[in-house]
């Protein structure tokens, strides 16, 4: 039996994964994404600082947007098994993200420690097929108010950077969509989160984006 010494509840670092599961991701890419989420989970479970703070949510989007995994404490998280098919409802996914941020993010109060600024990783390989512009503007407006940090990754030639730039300033592009590249991306996500869980504690130490590690080879930062 472990001793209960009491102590304050720690702050949460919410991580949102917004993953494109449209038809074009079918086959090897979606398998690589599944493995990537698994890898992310395993890497974070090896980081005692991440175990203290990280909570993960997974939102997928194809013909519809779905909250596959609501914001869950890392130690309770089960990597989902995702399938690909359908169109690319990015707008619906951003809407879902917005309402989840409204609902789930705890602000600082005298009876509960507020959450660290959420990190959102958006991954897509195609052009949105729904009405996304209004949602993109709404989300970008949030990040201007520093409600969340969004990092968007475009996979392959089917994505226009201007679309992603409308959502966030932090845009990465992956030229060739190979399982290896997708794995590299998730590895990078885990490094970013590990950095964030330490430097988020640094507080006032600048924006999370300034602390992101350099992306892996084959993934470019779009300035």
């Amino acid at each position: 039996m472990e001793m209960d010494f009491g102590g304050a509840e720690s702050r949460r670092l919410p991580i949102y994964l917004l993953l494109d599961t449209s038809g074009s991701m079918a086959g090897a890419p979606i398998q690589a994404v599944n493995q990537g989420v698994n890898l992310l989970y395993n890497e974070l479970m090896n980081d005692p600082s991440a175990i203290e703070t990280v909570h993960i949510a997974v939102i997928t989007f194809d013909s519809q947007a779905k909250m596959v995994m609501p914001l869950t404490e890392l130690t309770q998280f089960n990597p989902p098994n995702l399938n690909a098919g359908g169109t690319t409802s990015l707008g619906a996914a951003l809407h879902l993200l917005g309402s989840s941020l409204d609902r789930d993010i705890v602000s600082n109060s005298s009876n509960r420690k507020g959450d660290y600024k959420p990190l959102v990783f958006l991954m897509t390989d195609g052009m949105p097929t729904d009405n996304w512009e209004h949602q993109a503007d709404a989300i970008k407006n949030r990040t201007k108010q520093k409600v969340a940090t969004i990092i968007a990754l475009g996979c392959g030639g089917g994505v226009e950077t201007s679309t992603l730039k409308r959502i966030t300033e932090v845009v990465l592009m992956m030229d060739s969509v190979t399982p290896d590249q997708i794995t590299q991306f998730f590895k990078w996500v885990s490094q970013s989160v590990s950095t964030a869980s330490v430097s988020a504690q640094a507080a006032g130490g600048g924006e999370a984006q300034a602390q992101l590690p350099p992306p892996p080879t084959g993934i470019q930062v779009v300035l």
Binding site: M3, S10, R11, S49, I51, T75, S107, K113, G114
Partner: protein
């Protein structure tokens, strides 16, 4: 990959790094005994700094295997393919201290490695002593680490192992400026304060090291951070936290300002420690929190934590999560964790130690409340008998005397095994010599001289009745 050392010799190491930090990339060597660090950016001052740290003036490990186990100290300089260094690899089984600070981490660790890996409270106390010893050693050399943290202490509670890593970035005063401020939860308030209100520059120093050491010791012993309590300082969570660790830092157990108190804390520090160690906690988190010169030294932490071991008794409750606790004088003899009263043996001798007062023969003075709680088979060593000795690598560890409880007679004895001059002082009979191999009954009010009166301690026996 082959790397070349400054003396021209070569080492074969793995091609893939096992870790990457802000400053360098870490590789294992093929032999499995060393870690190779290659710097990403070579600062022109770095080579000279490394030479200093490795050299006889500042090295804390030279020729001493005991210290080699406690420090992953730079061993040799690498010149090719780029500037780097070699260090001894930390033993298998050591892990970031962070794994042992907090219920969530401990649970994950227990699932992976079994609950034995976690060790118990006594193991944590032993780790704390070694951590203090490590910092003391460095500070005695005039060095400060500048990033003492739960990442840079690798520990194994079961094996009682502590290794301090990241020693190549430490600060040689007046020679090398620090290149990191520290790790947030461990940084001294004056360093954190620079983040929220940049003003006068404060550099890491041995004083900021001491805040980190005190924080890690408290955190390890109580599984809670000393400054993270309910008090709110700002609406923005990040700013709130920076203030709570920085300019507005306030101990969660401050006796006067209770605004950061955690309600219903199960085991306050005052219930778990000897009075001397309680004083160190107060120096660290009350008097010295915003006044660095008042912080307790690493040597003080080591000395008084070591003494605390002499006050530990086992809990009678076999299912007690703590298992053992510090018996505090003049307080009910109960386990602070499970509240089980101590009943066996029915009475126990408390040996209050007094040390010789310099210059006045036959006069003794209180030694910061140094007491030894009688417990079956507890042993006395040279550092009990004489204030000239402190436990450490170069001290004789063999038992010199032993406490025995005779169950049948209900009597306590001090069995002298190897102390040359023990005397029982008796007002009526004068002095009675207890030669090695002999024993003496311990009764209330007995006075024992543990050696020559101008060099050794006097033990005054108080019998504590438990039932």
């Amino acid at each position: 990959m082959i790397v070349t050392l400054a003396d021209g010799s070569k080492i074969e190491c793995e091609d893939q790094p096992f870790a990457e930090g802000g400053e360098g990339i870490l590789f294992g060597d093929k032999a499995g005994t060393h870690v190779i660090k290659l710097y990403k950016n070579v600062d022109p001052q770095r080579l000279a700094a490394l030479q200093k740290i490795i050299g006889p003036e500042y090295s804390v490990v030279l020729g001493e295997p005991y210290w080699d186990e406690l420090f992953a100290w730079p061993k040799a300089i690498i010149t090719q393919p780029t500037l780097g260094l070699t260090m001894l690899r930390a033993p298998k089984g050591t892990m970031e201290l962070r794994w042992f600070l907090g219920a969530k981490q401990r649970q994950v660790l227990a699932q992976k490695h079994g609950s034995a890996k976690l060790g118990n409270w006594l193991n944590n106390l032993s780790l704390a002593i070694k951590m203090a010893r490590v910092v003391k050693r460095m500070h005695f050399r005039g060095l400060c680490h500048s990033d003492l943290s739960f990442r840079n202490f690798l520990v194994d509670p079961q094996q009682n192992r502590v290794v301090l890593i990241d020693c190549d970035g430490l600060v040689v005063p007046g020679f090398l400026p620090p290149n990191v401020l520290g790790t947030p939860m461990c940084m001294a308030p004056e360093l954190m304060a620079q983040i929220t209100s940049p003003g006068a520059r404060v550099d890491p120093s041995s004083q900021t090291d001491l805040h980190a050491l005190s924080t890690l010791i408290y955190w390890l012993l109580f599984q809670r951070h000393p400054l993270i309590g309910p008090k709110m300082h700002a609406k923005d969570p990040a700013l709130d936290e920076a203030l709570a660790l920085g300019e507005r830092a306030l101990f969660i157990e401050d006796a006067i300002d209770k605004s950061n108190h955690i309600p219903n804390l199960p085991v306050p520090y005052t219930s778990m420690l000897t009075s001397a160690v309680q004083e160190l906690v107060e120096k660290a988190f009350v008097h010295g929190l915003h006044n660095p010169v008042k912080r307790p030294s690493a040597a003080d932490w080591e000395r008084f934590l070591v003494r605390m071991i002499d006050a530990i008794v086992s809990c009678d409750n076999k299912r007690c999560p703590l298992g053992a606790f510090v018996l505090q004088p003049h307080k009910p003899a109960r386990c602070p964790a499970c509240n089980t009263p101590l009943k066996n043996p029915p009475h126990i001798p408390i040996l209050n130690f007094y040390q010789p007062r310099g210059g006045r023969k036959g006069h003794f003075q209180n030694d910061r409340g140094y007491t030894l709680v009688g417990w079956p088979d507890r042993t006395l060593h040279v550092w009990h008998a004489s204030p000239a000795h402190t436990p450490g690598p170069n001290v004789d560890h063999s038992p010199k005397a032993r406490l025995e409880f005779d169950q049948r007679q209900g009597k306590w004895y001090l069995q002298n095994t190897d102390l040359p001059e023990v005397r029982l002082l008796d007002g009526v009979l004068g002095q009675q010599e207890i030669h090695p191999g002999k024993r003496v009954e311990l009764i209330d009010g007995a006075r024992l001289l543990l050696g020559p009166p101008d060099q050794c301690r006097l033990a005054y026996v108080e019998m504590l009745k438990l039932t």
